[in-house]
């Protein structure tokens, strides 16, 4: 247990340090209730397109460097195979495999079932046909300040809330902010959930001839 706590602290600090400096203050460190078998620290600290995996998921925002080529994880285009890229980043040793190794196969569907447009609005027409534009004028909108509304959902990077946050914490995570993320509020939860998934899928990836990034604890 003592070793588990120490690893949790290390991961928390790594993740918080990669969080873009938001909010200031020390990281919130909670002992992760992770299984004892695997250590996912190498997954969280490995580089994905020049950034650590931890910095991609903490805080939960999409980052675009406009001076670099576009494409996930630098921004996100409509056709980017984000799930296969993220699965590789989460579970595979990227010193041994390129991050697009699953996207090349592909593991999931290789693309959208409709061709996106080359001009605005870029999204493909709705299945079943585009709804007719029916016009209108003199629209009336609510004027309440955003603070008068209650948060229902938040979104940033794909798969953060849905994959790295377990059921009991979903609402709380979605009520959070990038500032809280950057302070390490969800580090223990991300670590615990990733450990469960890495344990589940380890033998499957190895059977595919792929090297997992999670390593057995020694």
């Amino acid at each position: 247990m003592r070793r588990s706590r120490a690893i949790g602290v290390v991961v928390a600090l790594v993740l918080a340090a990669c969080g873009g400096g938001g909010g200031g203050g020390p990281a919130t460190v909670v002992t992760p209730p992770t299984p004892q078998g695997l250590d996912v620290t190498p997954c969280l600290t490995q580089l994905v397109a020049g950034r650590s995996l931890a910095s991609l998921v903490v805080p939960d925002v999409v980052t675009l460097d406009m001076n670099q080529p576009n494409g996930f994880p630098n921004g996100r285009r409509l056709d980017d195979p984000v799930i296969d890229l993220e699965l590789a980043a989460l579970f595979l040793d990227l010193r041994q495999h390129p991050v697009d190794i699953l996207a090349r196969r592909p593991l999931n569907p290789g693309g959208n079932d409709k061709v996106t447009l080359t001009v605005f609005p870029y999204l493909a027409e709705a299945h079943g046909g585009a709804p007719a534009a029916v016009g209108g004028s003199g629209f009336v909108f609510r004027t309440d300040a955003p603070s008068a509304y209650t948060r229902v959902d938040r979104g940033g990077e794909p798969a953060v809330s849905t994959v790295l946050v377990s059921g009991p914490f979903k609402n709380a995570f979605n009520d959070g902010t990038p500032a809280a993320d950057a302070n390490g509020m969800w580090v223990a939860e991300f670590t615990a959930t990733l450990t469960v998934l890495a344990t589940q899928f380890r033998d499957d990836f190895m059977a595919l001839g792929l090297t997992p990034c999670a390593v057995p604890r020694t």
Partner: protein, 219 residues
């Protein structure tokens, strides 16, 4: 049954069929791997789901002169269903360009409204590079000058993923993802797309960060 109830019932029915074809316990708990149907206690609870406020995916990319932002949600819904234009919601897009993602240098507020005939319109406030609010009908490309564009409406869901396979993988512990099965194929979202001048958000070599939230007026 009013139109909203009908929509929710239809979505609930679709969801029920999907769950029946997969492992219900996981689907209901963890949804899929973008942000559809998440958080499930609010957006994936059958007829009581807040479908209209359910964000799916956030996209951002740039060209030499423009930055494009897309926000999808309220899906995946079956072809033919109308958009979820809920006038009691505000969608907020948070943009930061100072190197600290925890701060906002711009926030775009998006609301739906209705005209006296009951037709739905959309309002975009605080779009960087725009001269003022952008207002007009849904399913219509709205412009402000030569570069700024905005639209809200029903479009193809661009996400692709074998959610059923991932579901089964979680349930069985055996990786069962297939590349010939896409839960989001043939389905739509209610989405927003905004295009702005790159110069309106660029800050030297600093990256731009983006996240979004959906907020509801609770009576």
């Amino acid at each position: 049954m009013d139109l909203r109830s009908l929509r929710l019932t239809a979505v609930a029915a679709v969801t029920a069929l999907l769950v029946a074809g997969a492992a219900a316990s996981w689907f209901g708990r963890s949804a899929d791997a973008a942000d559809h149907l998440d958080p499930p206690a609010r957006t994936n609870v059958g007829a009581n789901s807040d479908v209209a406020a359910d964000l799916a995916d956030v996209f951002i990319w740039n060209t030499a002169t423009t930055v494009t932002i897309a926000l999808t949600g309220a899906g995946p819904s079956n072809p033919g269903l109308p958009g979820f234009y809920d006038t009691n919601l505000v969608f907020i897009v948070h943009l930061s360009n100072d190197g600290n993602p925890a701060t906002d240098e711009a926030t775009i507020d998006i609301r739906f409204g209705r005209d006296p005939m009951g037709k739905f319109g959309v309002q975009f406030l605080n779009i960087p590079g725009a001269t003022g609010p952008i207002v007009g009908p849904v399913q219509t490309i709205l412009t402000d000058g030569p570069v700024v564009k905005a639209v809200a409406g029903v479009f193809d869901d661009p996400f692709f993923f074998d959610a059923q396979g991932f579901n089964e993988s979680r349930a069985t512990g055996t990786l069962s993802v297939r590349n010939d099965r896409n839960l989001f194929g043939g389905r739509n979202d209610t989405s927003f797309v905004i295009e702005i001048p790159r110069s309106a958000i660029a800050n030297g070599t600093m990256p731009v960060t983006i996240w979004a939230e959906a907020r509801r007026i609770i009576p």
